[in-house]
Amino acid sequence: MGDHDCAGDSWSQNIDTKEYAMPKKRLRAAAAIAASVVALAGCSNGGGSTSTNTEVPTDKPITLTVWSWDGTVKEAVAGFEKLHPNITVNVVNAGSSTDEYTALDNAIQAGSGVPDIAMFEYFSLPLFAIPGKLTDLSEFGAKDLASDYVEAAWGNVTIDGKPYGLPSDYGPAAMFYNQSVLAQAGVTAPPATWDEFYQAAKKVRALGGDHYITNDSADIFVLMSLMWEGGGRPFKVDGTNVTIDFKDPGSSRAVAFWQKLLDEDLVNTKITNWSDDWNRGLNEGTLATQLIGGWFTSTLPERAPNAAGNFRVAPLPQWEAGQTSGAENGGSAMAIPAAAQNKAAAYAFLKYFTHGDGLQSRIDAGAFVPNLSNLNNEKFLSTTNPFFGDQKYNQVLADASKNVATGWQYPPFFGWARTSYEDVSAPLYDSRQGTLAEVLETWKQRSIAYGNEQGFSVR
């Protein structure tokens, strides 16, 4: 510790300046330089021996291993290696989601093969952060970046006030709608409120056959985005204390509304997302809308080529007319495991591809990021695609991102809970046994049992 001089900081100042050297970014450039000055000042204190060395070594060769199933990360590697000739970056796909978490957990337990940076869905970050398996990025000055992101995205990586990762992609919940199918049903404007959505659902159903406004096969993320948008906060996490309650007004309203749609057969419960049936439904227009994350823009065109030109993107319908609230459906962060070997270099790359000069190359490759610099970027906002009828869909998604309501928390064991939800909701979706509220109560009880068994204190 402290065996390197402060020379390393001069480049970080360069990066920070370059990063904001675009027009309209003067103000923040000034802020960034100010931040670097703070960092330099901090360095002059002589870097305490208890904290990690935050300076990037320039003299010894370093190899960084990055675990990511986000294919855009590798786009940023060449630029970074050019800036840091002594650092080699290996981006590895160690599996998606649960596969990666299992591999990471095994590596951490084994004490070897731990990557320097790993990817986490937002809901899985607490699973690793709370037991102390991730590096608190405060020591690298990550807190200064908070205001550069959509507030809710920063909230996702902040646990007990400490940033444990940097947001790397974002999924604002949005409504993708098939304009021509809605028009056929007599719905001329996309439903702006949930009441309108319900009315539209009835009209679409009246088209007969397999026409439904949307499908839902026990997708907890759809239900949660309705809760989230309406102010429901069913999970409260404070350290290892977790509270689960689906009875708060925002959550119960979402549950009651969705129950109504299920009861009146307005949602196709026979089609599961990502299945062949789903593709066909989207393709032939029997599924009129999708309540899903903004990342759907990247996969919808290849799933529904026959519906080219018919789909548009709209904000999630609101609970009250005129409101502009939003929710998330998906998104992920990148974090540095506590057992990583080269933390300073890892943070330098982490910041480079999620915040710095490497970000643009990822955006060009299709990443949707919650960085305000991008969400306010005219070029990005004016992107069009004939598949979406030349709509400026990024504008809609950027607004949806900024409108995401804050304060949502996931329980640390959400990865498990998600599978459990599929089990407990099966009788309701398979054969209409019970109600959504009863399903959530059973789910809550199982989660409490599991959570307590795993060493949390769950109520």
């Binding site: 649960t98 026990a218 419960t269 026979k270 990502w274 049936d277 498990w416 599929e422 599991y450 060493g455």
Partner: protein, 313 residues
């Protein structure tokens, strides 16, 4: 013939005895050296994994608090776990129904081919065996598309007949999986039976024919008794196979919705989801070991029963 063998045996053992009295210690070492490669492999490939599973089954890996030694708590919990019983009962029922159907069909097909009255029996044999060569993943996808009600074959039949039959409703999914498994493994079992039938000396049939036995009598008194030992083998293989049901239901969950397949649908699926989504590796190991003991016990019981009947005959 047996007399010859007997005399040979004695002479060999005499020689061995002579040598043993002369150079006992060295011979023993050579013997150890000969079995060493096998022993090492056996130890690492069979004993160590089972031992390690038994070891981790005594621990709980908590998300908060790490690894805790909990004696036999995992086993106690397992025997009170309704999800575990749900899966076990399902595979036991499945085995009890699917295995007899599959083996009966396999015997019937083997007898048909062996009857020598079939045209193109070689072609037929390959066609029936072919599904076994198709990976379970591919065949599940294929059957999934075929039995799917929305766009599959059944969907078209439903449309044509105006019916509402769903092969992947919670009540029928297991039947559909049974169809897939039967389709995949009938040919394999048929081949085992066919090989056993081919081993019956043709003279026996000629003798029976000369004695005036009908074709049915030949089947009943010569061919079926000849299948007894291979029947025991196929029953054991089938029980082991169906108790480990995993691929088919696991793939179906992503293919069709509302099929009633839960994360604990079969004991194997339950072990998988415990280990990989619940990070309850110790509990999963306990489950795996209990299922292994259960499977071995049933396979052993079948073997004992089969052998006893064979000797009684």
């Amino acid at each position: 013939m047996s007399r010859q063998l007997l005399t040979q045996d004695t002479s060999v053992s005499d020689v061995v005895a002579d040598h043993q009295t002369l150079r006992k210690p060295k011979r023993r070492n050579i013997g150890l050296a000969f079995i060493a490669p096998f022993s090492v492999l056996f130890l690492f490939v069979f004993i160590v994994p089972i031992g390690y599973s038994a070891y981790i089954s005594l621990f709980q890996n908590k998300l908060i608090g790490g690894k805790v030694f909990i004696w036999f708590d995992n086993y106690i919990k397992l025997f009170q776990d309704s999800q575990f019983y749900d899966g076990v009962i399902r595979v036991v029922l499945f085995t009890a129904i699917q295995v007899p159907i599959m083996l009966f069909s396999a015997i019937a097909l083997a007898l048909a081919i062996d009857s020598l009255r079939l045209h193109g029996s070689r072609f037929f044999r390959i066609i029936v065996f072919l599904p076994y060569a198709i990976p379970a993943i591919v065949s599940t996808l294929m059957w999934g598309f075929m039995l799917g009600i929305r766009y599959g074959l059944i969907g078209s039949l439903n449309k044509a007949a105006g019916t509402d039959f769903n092969p992947f409703a919670p009540e029928t999914t297991m039947v559909s999986i049974g169809v897939m498994v039967t389709w995949g493994f009938t040919g394999y079992n048929m081949l085992i039976f066919y090989a056993a039938l081919r081993a019956v000396p043709r003279e026996l049939y000629e003798a029976a024919a000369i004695d005036g036995a009908s074709e049915f009598q030949i089947v009943r008194h010569i061919k079926l008794p000849a299948l007894r030992s291979s029947l025991i083998v196929t029953i054991i293989f089938s029980i082991i196979g169906t108790f480990q049901l995993f691929n088919e239901p696991n793939i179906l969950t992503t293919l069709v919705s509302n099929s009633g397949i839960t994360s604990y649908y079969t004991p194997n699926m339950y072990a998988y989801s415990l280990a990989f989504t619940g990070s309850q590796q110790g509990y999963a190991a306990a489950l795996a070991l209990v299922m292994a003991v259960f499977t071995i016990a049933i396979a052993y019981a079948v073997q004992i029963k089969g052998m006893k009947n064979a000797f009684n005959k």
